[in-house]
C-alpha cells in the first residue's frame, strides 16, 4: 500500500493533472471565436493587451472595483498559495539554506525560511476559512453553492492543515529525507516514502487534489486566461484587411431551424407587427 501511495500514485496524479489540464484547454481552444467579444475601452496594441490582461489576472482589478472584501480575501488566498508553492520548491531544494545565497548565516536562513512559510501558511489558512465563511454567509452565494463548491475549499483546507501541522514545534520532520524522496520521484528513481504519517497524509491529499483539479471549477486557473484574452481581443478593422476570415461555424451546422423566405419559397401571409 505504501509502495502504491509513495511510488506509483504520485505519477498517476501528475499525469492526470497535466493531461487533464491540457485536454480542457485544448477543447476550449478548438472551439472558434466567431465574433470579437471586445470589452471597451479596448487595449490599443498587443503589448497593452498583454499588460491589461496581466494586471487583471495578477491584481484581480475587476474584483477590486466590485466587492472589496472578497477582493481582499481572494487576493490574499491566491498570493499566499503562490508563496507557499514557491516556498516548498525553494525551501526543500535548499533545505532552508536558500537565504545563505544572499549572505545570511545558515541559522538565520532557516529561521527566515520557516517564518515566511509559517506566515504564508497562516494567511492561506485564514483566507480559505474566510472564503468558506463567505460562501455560507451571503444569501445569494449560499443558494448558488453546490456541495462541490464546499468540497473544493475543504480539500485545500485539508492540505493546508496537514501541512501546517508539520510546522508545530512538537512535530519533527526530517527535511533531508523528504528531499531525497521527492528527488527520487522527480528523477524517475522513486524511493520508499518516509514513514511519517503526517507527511504521507499531506502528500496523498495533494495528489488527490491534483487528480480532482482538471475536472473541477479549479480550472479557472487557466479558464480566466482564455476568457480574459477573449474579451480583450482587438475589435475588427473595416474595410477588412486582405487575408482576414473569421469562422462563424454556428451558421454552418446541420438542422438549422430558421429559413428565410428566399429559400423556403414565397413569403407568408402573417401581418404581425414589431415595435
Amino acid at each position: 500500500m505504501l509502495y502504491f501511495i509513495g511510488q506509483v500514485f504520485p505519477y498517476i496524479a501528475m499525469g492526470v493533472f497535466l493531461a487533464g489540464l491540457a485536454w480542457r484547454v485544448l477543447t476550449w481552444l478548438k472551439a472558434p471565436v466567431p465574433f470579437q467579444l471586445t470589452m471597451f475601452p479596448a487595449p490599443a496594441s498587443a503589448v497593452e493587451r498583454v499588460t491589461a490582461v496581466g494586471k487583471q489576472l495578477c491584481l484581480f482589478t475587476p474584483l477590486y472595483k466590485g466587492d472589496r472584501t472578497l477582493w481582499f480575501w481572494a487576493w490574499i488566498m491566491h498570493v499566499s498559495l503562490a508563496l507557499v508553492i514557491v516556498g516548498h520548491i525553494v525551501g526543500i531544494y535548499f533545505l532552508t539554506q536558500q537565504f545563505t545565497l544572499i549572505g545570511l548565516s545558515p541559522k538565520a536562513s532557516t529561521l527566515l525560511s520557516e517564518s515566511l512559510g509559517t506566515v504564508a501558511g497562516i494567511m492561506l489558512l485564514l483566507s480559505l476559512l474566510a472564503l468558506f465563511y463567505r460562501r455560507t454567509a451571503i444569501a445569494e452565494v449560499k443558494r448558488l453553492s453546490d456541495p462541490a463548491d464546499y468540497f473544493d475549499l475543504l480539500l485545500i483546507l485539508a492540505v493546508v492543515i496537514t501541512g501546517m501541522h508539520m510546522r508545530l514545534p512538537t512535530v519533527h520532520v526530517d527535511l533531508p529525507v523528504i528531499r531525497t524522496y521527492l528527488g527520487g520521484l522527480l528523477t524517475l528513481q522513486p524511493v520508499p516514502i518516509p514513514e511519517n504519517w503526517l507527511f504521507i497524509s499531506h502528500f496523498l491529499l495533494v495528489n488527490i487534489l491534483m487528480i480532482y483539479f482538471p475536472f473541477s471549477k479549479l480550472v479557472h486557473l487557466l479558464g480566466s486566461v482564455v476568457s480574459r484574452a477573449m474579451i480583450s481581443e482587438a475589435p475588427p478593422v473595416y474595410p477588412t484587411p486582405a487575408g482576414v476570415q473569421r469562422q462563424a461555424t454556428i451558421f454552418a451546422k446541420e438542422g438549422q431551424s430558421y429559413e428565410s423566405s428566399a429559400t423556403r419559397g414565397q413569403g407568408t401571409g402573417s401581418q404581425s407587427r414589431g415595435v
Binding site: V33, M39, H220, M230
Partner: protein, 445 residues
C-alpha cells in the same frame, strides 16, 4: 408554458421562418442545439466552465437589483444553462451529478429560460466586474438562439423577424411610406432653416450609406434631422437605403441566423449604392451587430463602418454650433460603451452643443442599462421593465434638475420615457445626441 411574456404561437413561429418542435422531440433537439452552440462558441464553453460562483456579479446587475429575483443574479441566470451543460457535456457532471451541480433536462427548464433569459438586457456589466471576464450576455445570446431554433420565441421577436425579412426594418415600413416621411422632414427643415436639406432614399452612386433606426422616421425624427443637417453642411454625398432602413438587428437578440441575414442585407445595400463608408445611426445593439459581428457573420467587409456619433465627433470643428442653454446628462447605451467603443464621442458632441453637461454615476463603461436592452420592450412586460429601469431612474434622480436627457439609442428612447414617468420624472425631455447637434447648428440664411 407560464412566462411573463407572450410566446409566439405555432403559426407565428412558422411565419417568422422557424420550424416548431413537437413536445416529444424537445429534449433531444435542445441537447443537440446546446452541443452545437458550445462547439461553435468558445465563450460558452469557457464561461460555463470557469465560474467559481463567487457572487461578485450580484450587486453589479441592474436586473437583479431591480427585480430582487434570485434567477436574475447573473451567475444564477447562467446556472440555468450551466447545470444542464454540466450534466451532459462535462466529465465531472456526468460522474458526480448533483454534487457537482449538474442537473437533468426537464420540461420546466424551457419556461425558466424564457422567463429569465428575457430579463437579461445583455448589457455586459457583469463581465466588467467578473474576475474572469465571464460575460452573461454571451450565455443569454446562446440561450435565446437555442430556444428560437426549437421554435420557441417571444411573439414580439417573431413579429419583428417577419417585418425585417419583408421590409428590411422592424416596423415593416414599405418604401412609399419612407419617401413620404423623408419629404415631411425635408419640409420641416426648409421651414426652419430656409435651406433645401435632402434626405435621399436609394440614391445611386452615394459615398456614404446612412443606416438610421426605423423609429427615426416616426418617433425620433429629430435624430434623423440632426444627421441630415450635419451631412448637408459637410457636403456629404449620402443616402439611406430602403433595403436596410434599420440599424437595429433583432437577430442578435434572439436568433443568430436572423442576425446574419440582416447583416448581409447591410453588405448588399452598401454595394448597391456604391458606398465606401457605412454610418450607423443611433441604435445600440445595431451598432454592436454591425461593428462586432459583420466580419464573422458575412465574411470580409469591403467598406468602412462608423457610428454617426464617431462621424460627428470627427467633424465637430466644421459644424456651425451655438451652445444651447441646457443642463444635460448622458446615458451611455451599453452597446456603445462596454460593447461598442463609442464612449468619449457623445461627450465631446454634447459639450459642444450645450452649456452644461453633467455626468451621472457610474458612467461610461460602468454605466447601468436602461432596462430595455436586448429588445425587452414587450408591452406585457411593462411591470418588469420598470423594475429593470430602477437603477437608471435612481442615477438620473441623483442629478437634480435637468433640461435634457441624452439617450442616443432607439431602445433606450423607447424604454426610458416609461421609466422616467414611472419614477416621477415624466416631465424630463429626452432624445438622442444627434437631436442636439441638429438644434445647435446655426445656418446662414
Amino acid at each position: 408554458m407560464k412566462v411573463p411574456l407572450h410566446v409566439a404561437k405555432e403559426q407565428e413561429v412558422k411565419a417568422a421562418g422557424f420550424k416548431p418542435t413537437p413536445e416529444t422531440e424537445i429534449k433531444e433537439k435542445f441537447l443537440a442545439k446546446l452541443d452545437d452552440v458550445r462547439s461553435s462558441m468558445r465563450s460558452i464553453m469557457v464561461m460555463l466552465e470557469t465560474c467559481t460562483k463567487c457572487g461578485n456579479c450580484a450587486q453589479q446587475c441592474h436586473s437583479y437589483l431591480g427585480t430582487n429575483d434570485y434567477n436574475n443574479f447573473p451567475a444564477a441566470r447562467a446556472e440555468l444553462m450551466r447545470r444542464v451543460y454540466k450534466r451532459y457535456f462535462t466529465t465531472a457532471g456526468k460522474l458526480l451529478g448533483r454534487f457537482y451541480g449538474a442537473e437533468e433536462f426537464d420540461s420546466e427548464l424551457i419556461s425558466k429560460w424564457m422567463t429569465y433569459f428575457y430579463q437579461c438586457n445583455e448589457c455586459r456589466r457583469c463581465a466588467q466586474f467578473c474576475p474572469f471576464g465571464i460575460d452573461t450576455a454571451e450565455v443569454t445570446i446562446a440561450a435565446r438562439h437555442i430556444m428560437s431554433e426549437l421554435g420557441i420565441m417571444p411573439k414580439f421577436m417573431a413579429g419583428i423577424a417577419v417585418n425585417m425579412e419583408k421590409s428590411g426594418n422592424n416596423m415593416g415600413i414599405p418604401k412609399p411610406a419612407i419617401v413620404d416621411c423623408a419629404e415631411f422632414m425635408e419640409d420641416e427643415m426648409r421651414d426652419e432653416t430656409g435651406l433645401d436639406i435632402k434626405i435621399p432614399i436609394d440614391k445611386p452612386n452615394s459615398d456614404v450609406l446612412y443606416v438610421p433606426s426605423s423609429a427615426d422616421f416616426f418617433t425620433n425624427v429629430d435624430t434623423m434631422i440632426g444627421a441630415a443637417k450635419m451631412f448637408h453642411h459637410l457636403g456629404v454625398n449620402w443616402t439611406i437605403s430602403s433595403k436596410i432602413l434599420e440599424a437595429a438587428n433583432f437577430g442578435l437578440l434572439f436568433n443568430m441566423n436572423v442576425m446574419r441575414e440582416h447583416n448581409q442585407r447591410l453588405k448588399e445595400a452598401a454595394r448597391e449604392v456604391g458606398a465606401s463608408l457605412v454610418v450607423q445611426g443611433e441604435c445600440g445593439h445595431g451598432w454592436r451587430a454591425a461593428r462586432m459581428y459583420t466580419e464573422g457573420a458575412s465574411g470580409p467587409v469591403p467598406f468602412k463602418i462608423m457610428h454617426v456619433l464617431e462621424y460627428a465627433a470627427e467633424n465637430l470643428s466644421k459644424l456651425p454650433l451655438r451652445k444651447l442653454p441646457l443642463r444635460v446628462t448622458l446615458h451611455d447605451p451599453c452597446n456603445y460603451a462596454r460593447a461598442g467603443g463609442v464612449i468619449e464621442q457623445p461627450r465631446q458632441i454634447i459639450r459642444a452643443c450645450v452649456e452644461e453637461f453633467v455626468e451621472m454615476t457610474p458612467n461610461r463603461e460602468e454605466n447601468f442599462c436602461c432596462g430595455g436592452g436586448s429588445g425587452i420592450l414587450m408591452d406585457e412586460m411593462m411591470e418588469i421593465r420598470m423594475q429593470l429601469g430602477k437603477k437608471k431612474a435612481e442615477q438620473v434622480k441623483a442629478l437634480g434638475s435637468l433640461d435634457y436627457f441624452a439617450v442616443p439609442c432607439s431602445i433606450c428612447k423607447a424604454q426610458l420615457p416609461h421609466v422616467m414617468k414611472h419614477y416621477g420624472m415624466g416631465s424630463l425631455s429626452m432624445g438622442g445626441v444627434m437631436d442636439l447637434v441638429g438644434k445647435a447648428m446655426v445656418f446662414d440664411k
